[in-house]
Symmetry: C2
Subunit: 358 residues, 2 copies
Amino acid sequence: MAHQTKKENGQERPVGLKFLAEYLALSPATISVVLNDSPTAREIPQRTKDRVLDAARKFRYRPNVMARTLRQKRSSTIGLLVHEISEGYGALLLNALDDYLLQEGYFYFVVSHRRRPDLLEEYPRMLMERSVEGLILIDTVLHKSLPLPTVNISGHTRVPGVTNVILNHHLAAKLALQHLVDLGHKRIVFVKGQAFSSDSEVRWKAVQDVARKMAVAILPELTVQLEDSTYSPVVGYPKIQELLSRSVPFTAILAYNDLSAIGAIRAIRDHGLRVPEDISVVGFDDIASAAFQNPSLTTVRQPLRTMGMTAARILLDRLNGGKDPREVVVQPEFVVRESTGPAKALARVQTSRRRKNG
Amino acid sequence: MAHQTKKENGQERPVGLKFLAEYLALSPATISVVLNDSPTAREIPQRTKDRVLDAARKFRYRPNVMARTLRQKRSSTIGLLVHEISEGYGALLLNALDDYLLQEGYFYFVVSHRRRPDLLEEYPRMLMERSVEGLILIDTVLHKSLPLPTVNISGHTRVPGVTNVILNHHLAAKLALQHLVDLGHKRIVFVKGQAFSSDSEVRWKAVQDVARKMAVAILPELTVQLEDSTYSPVVGYPKIQELLSRSVPFTAILAYNDLSAIGAIRAIRDHGLRVPEDISVVGFDDIASAAFQNPSLTTVRQPLRTMGMTAARILLDRLNGGKDPREVVVQPEFVVRESTGPAKALARVQTSRRRKNG
DNA sequence: GGCACATACTAAAACGTTTTAGCTCGATAT
DNA sequence: ATATCGAGCTAAAACGTTTTAGTATGTGCC
């Protein structure tokens, strides 16, 4: 037999076009044409096509993607640039992206820049060397536009060539505040996000805006700013603790995210009060552990799955010649669980002052 | 000027070896040799080397990885095969892998097979088409060996050519049981993992083994088997609830993982009992939300970061000619938090029966 | 003047595809 | 008998590197 996949050298070289060509007494060009069903394939009779297809199947022919990419400049690969592979937020997005991209026949590299400016510079370049066709960023501030089609999830800077996929923070703020107001809360503590967090600023603006429209007071003494940078459940704990120990009266907390909500709940309990009987707490994100909490968290859910799917869809559309919107907005959802309840009449100073609205 | 990076066509073709060669009046071969510092480079005078290096820098030359890979059969890319990008467990491993691999100059594809046998077959092939040099699997049962160097994290099947990175389940069981025994617990509920979970069987064996050695009774009526497949906090809830409502007496639960521990705690509280005052609960894994729980979970920590790092190191070693161990064992760590406490004297039937050991 | 030897490179093949222009052959038309 | 045509293919270049065997040039030596 002249044509056996040569195992002799022990290394079993993968079957290539050349091998098939020899086997079928055709040229590599023909095989390629048939297998890709390219225009020329119309001039090839079915009989030959079948021979080719059969042989390809028989020898389990798999084209070499490197060679193909080198030739046609399409790699069906995209790059995911994240600040780190975190639990919660990031993982859910990755899951959705993975789903969509693989489904559509794209593979992806994941690269985490850990918020280091040098890596943020370098990695996109390295991804380009590897011929990725586009980039998806997650929670990453981007200052200059990249030389590839880009979608930025939770990106807020306007850079030519990049599409931002963002949450409707206005609606999010409205849902949360409305819920608290409906429950009769008036003295509400507002927690602002850390400066490095991509969403902090825009979310805070939205909260202020909505509060004004709903005539909810944002009191300076009831506003706290997160500073801790650690991904930990004690984020925000000290701030709330301080408020409680100073006996500043309030009946609810609108936290920046679920983590700080959890920290707040700890502080409240450690201070001898109950959630939600004494104080209601609203989180933000709906990370997985939000539902596992005790009490489980009432929170604004970011539709992470939708956001991931949307980002991937937009990028792929664009790679295939579609338009690139500046911005795509997705809608939040409000999840009522156990951490919120009716406002309790305040036992201290402020209680009477606003009795008229009760 | 004859040599400017041609922007004329609007597309600014990236600078290649050819361009530099022309610019320097040298051959591409020379440039390549100098830039890669290959053996031949010793015969090139420093002066020329400098000219080359300068030009490369000046024009920001970046080699095309596809072309290089095609030639040398080394892609510096590996494939990560996971069952899904989950929160907790998976995310922490990915984080560690990302860290190590990027540091060492490797990029990686992530591919999730969602436990579908067809994808499990297909994806390794597709990764090979893309010239990955090796594979790392996470929590994936592997039946046949793959045609690439492979490391399986939490893999328990013995397949030639794959290295398993596993936890010392024996020690894990010992730590957990010892802790409970030290606190005076005797009637302990044991929770077995779902059949599809990669670790279920071996962990259960370890628990049985250790219990025997420590003379701790594993009573059939105090043994429950998880069945729910959902990644949710109510895993195990019904089983514990049933035990409680049947008034089977026990003072502690050794859960299969943190999730089922959380489910158990819910059930206990809903039944009007307290954790840990009435019943102690020990988890397993130390997922992020374990520390955020209320009460926070006492648990056996899997050193996920170490496991990821180890897996990556072993694979890279092997790609560079190192040996491939069958198996590498990492050690667990026991984390005492709030969900465990001294055993309470049982108020029911069994209380007196074993008084002698108290 | 011829030979050996070192120095400083280069030519060309190879990697595995895709693509386009064109070739060959037989059949039909003139 | 020759021109025309279509059907069925193929040659060869191209993609951007790496690698190996080799060439050209100069220098020193007898």
